[in-house]
């Protein structure tokens, strides 16, 4: 395959190299690509915002649902944030967004993060095989001790007979964090490999 003759690929290749260059040294090409990125991202956000306002707001007004004018007023009020005197008007729509965002996530969090996790913990420790039992016990100790590590206002948890629990908890947490760290390494390389493929395949045509 020959080197690409598509200007799009050439521009993209330039930006790929420019964005990488920062890892080696701060330089003007990186700054150029960074500013391109910030501008493009903000522009893209506006385009998507207007499209959504048309499809999810204006469409309702066209159907005669006049109450949707309220949300347009609220939407405009967001931009009073930059006004010297009437900045507080933006608090109305923000309050709506925060109330909705908070309500919609915490109502289920108590189920998914708390009750379901206790149910999962309150299972028999014995398994089908000796190895399963061993695993169940490790998991059980992990859950209990990790939880105890994050209890801060009950002194008895960290001193005396129970004092071993948070200590073991910290070790268990660090072991688990190690797995996360190992995976983070994979994330970054897995991501960059995609750019290498782009440069060698789509741009230079060296590999198929």
């Amino acid at each position: 395959m020959p080197v690409s003759s598509d200007p799009l690929i050439w521009i993209a290749a330039f930006y790929t190299i420019a964005a990488t260059s920062y890892a080696f040294r701060d330089n003007i090409l990186f700054k150029f690509s960074e500013n391109t990125y910030i501008g493009a991202a903000a522009g893209h956000a506006i385009v998507m915002g207007i499209k959504n306002i048309r499809d999810y707001g204006w469409a309702h007004i066209m159907k005669g649902e006049m109450i949707y004018w309220v949300v347009f007023v609220l939407g405009v009020m967001l931009y009073f944030r930059f006004h010297r005197q009437y900045y507080w008007l933006y608090r109305y729509p923000i309050a709506f967004l925060v109330g909705n965002g908070v309500g919609i996530s915490i109502r289920a969090a108590i189920h998914s993060d708390f009750i379901k996790q206790i149910i999962e913990t309150a299972k028999p420790l014995t398994g089908a095989t000796a190895f399963d039992t061993f695993n169940n016990i490790i998991i059980f100790i992990g859950v209990i001790t990790a939880l105890s590590h994050f209890i801060f206002t009950y002194e008895g948890m960290h001193k005396g007979t129970l004092g071993w629990m948070p200590k073991v908890g910290r070790w268990m947490i660090l072991l688990a964090l190690g797995a996360s760290f190992g995976n983070t390494i994979m994330t970054r390389f897995g991501q960059y490999q995609g750019r290498i493929l782009f440069l060698l395949r789509d741009w230079l045509g060296i590999v198929a």
């Binding site: 920062y22 701060d26 990186f30 960074e34 910030i38 923000i94 915490i106 109502r107 108590i110 189920h111 708390f114 009750i115 996790q117 206790i118 149910i119 913990t121 309150a122 299972k123 028999p124 420790l125 014995t126 059980f140 859950v143 209990i144 939880l147 105890s148 590590h149 994050f150 209890i151 801060f152 206002t153 009950y154 002194e155 960290h158 910290r170 947490i173 660090l174 964090l177 190690g178 996360s180 760290f181 983070t184």
Partner: protein
């Protein structure tokens, strides 16, 4: 027709109790009835400042790029509480503090807290806000670049990073390490904790930063909400232990009860 959605009884009860617990714990906190544990991470912070005094080099305290309006606001608040504590230590012991800023909304609060700390130690004249709490940039890589430059120039003795952090933490940790700084890191952003744990001399894991912030600030609101969370964690712990033991003895009563 049933009023409650099916299978949601236990979550609802837990939810309402959480509501009550939060309110109650904050009231108890206001009355000073809740004591919070001093976590070892604070000793590490003191060590950093002490080391800086010995070496005659500055201390950095980075609170991250968080703002008061994002969902990471509580982490920023914890970072600010620690900043105030570090500023007090620096003023008292005579170490020079640098705390570069990235958010225009948070910056005035940070300046005020540091000023108060220096004032209460009677060292206000030693503080130069423009030099020590400069605004670098609100853009991730520009902000990271600015701090990397400062670290390379000043060779700080210590670096304390507590607050919400993103990918830039990796750049900070590397540059301060190269500058020979002792580092204490802490964040509740789960994806960045492993990295702090790997490179810092001491790490505050997740909610430890809230506990540390509440401890040093003595703010009843923060202490109270930590207490209410503790009650829930205790419940989870106890139900987990009892439930597992009962289930092992073939009595899965806790499981059945919670599935209601």
């Amino acid at each position: 027709m049933a009023i409650l959605t099916e299978g949601r009884l236990v979550p609802l009860v837990a939810f309402i109790l959480a509501w009550i617990a939060t309110y109650l714990a904050i009231q108890l906190g206001k009355q000073g009835k809740i004591r919070i544990r001093r976590i070892p991470g604070l000793d590490a912070i003191e060590e950093v400042v002490g080391r800086a005094v010995e070496m005659g080099r500055p201390v950095f305290d980075i609170i991250g790029m968080g703002s008061f309006t994002s969902i990471y606001a509580t982490q920023t608040v914890a970072g600010l509480s620690i900043l105030s504590y570090v500023a007090t230590l620096c003023a008292r012991l005579g170490a020079k503090l640098y705390a570069p800023q990235a958010d225009v909304g948070v910056m005035p609060v940070a300046i005020e807290l540091v000023r108060d700390a220096y004032r209460s130690e009677g060292k206000l004249e030693e503080l130069d806000v423009d030099e020590q709490l400069p605004y670098l940039s609100g853009t991730q890589f520009a902000w990271a670049g600015g701090i990397i430059g400062m670290a390379a120039r000043m060779k700080p003795a210590g670096n304390i990073m507590i607050g919400p952090f993103w990918a830039e933490s990796m750049m900070f940790a590397e540059s301060f390490n190269r500058a020979g700084s002792m580092q204490v890191g802490g964040t509740a952003r789960m994806y960045q904790i492993p990295f702090f744990a790997a490179v810092c001399d001491y790490v505050l894991i997740g909610e430890e930063i809230f506990a540390a912030g509440a401890y040093v600030s003595g703010d009843p609101l923060q202490i109270g909400s930590i207490a209410s969370q503790d009650w829930y964690k205790l419940v989870a712990l106890i139900l987990g232990i009892i439930g597992a033991l009962l289930a092992t003895a073939n009595v899965p009563v806790i499981q059945n009860l919670l599935s209601m």
